[in-house]
Amino acid sequence: MGYLIAAYVVGVGGLVGYLLWLVRERRALARELSDAGSR
């Protein structure tokens, strides 16, 4: 049973984590680019 939970935590957690990372990366890049534009 522990294995089952571990697998789902890894799997779903991994995907959600990746999604969050992508969203954060987008925001950071967008901010960086608009900062440069207004210089």
């Binding site: 697998a7 799997g11 967008a30 680019l33 608009s34 440069a36």
Partner: protein, 252 residues
Amino acid sequence: MSPADPALHLVATSPSPAMRSALRASGALAAVVAAAWALAVWNAPVDRTQGVIQKILYLHVPCAFAAYLGFAGTALFGALYLWRGEERSDRLAAASAGVGVVFCTLVLLTGPIWGKGTWGRWWSWDLRLTLTLLLYLVYLAYILLRSFTEGSERTARFAAVYGIAGLLVIPLNYFAIDLAAGRAIHPENLERGSLGPGMGLPFALGVAAALAAFVHLWLQRAEVARLRALRARRDAEQSAQEFAPGGASWDT
């Protein structure tokens, strides 16, 4: 001194309207299908032979599906880039690889967890697991190639060729591993057999959820690629300016 109207930069940093709707739609779809899948997994009957741990397969197999799809996408968009030369194709190829490798990692993590729980062994060199490991190595090589090649146009070309070669190697690997080891004791037969009544739905929903998740993540990753390309272009413009006669001084 600044290269363009700052407002233009602001526009470029947000996704196009088409992309924005695609992101919203795919995100909503993925969420809904994932919820349905979770429900189906929860309600699925417990396997007689393996016990509740068999339910890992409702995650593991869809991830494998997405991992292979990802690489097909990498090769496909790479080929499209070689054909048409559109930068966007290359970004989609890179995004495919980026998302695909994540799914592949999950396959290689959930597989051994399931293996340890069922067979008591973390790893076995059976056909499917080995094939996926080899795919993983090709993914990694592809990503390293992209990181270490200089020049975005050259990177796109090289990556496209390597991606196509990597895809073609998958069926070759299948036969090669089969040749070398024969059909080892892969629970392949057991897997098929264990698709008993009530198990079709969570599997099908799992694959659908993986597909939907892949698309949404892929679009997000493509946006990241687009923004990175913008940043690279801006950096190139700025450093060109600094060296132009009468350009910015060093302490700007």
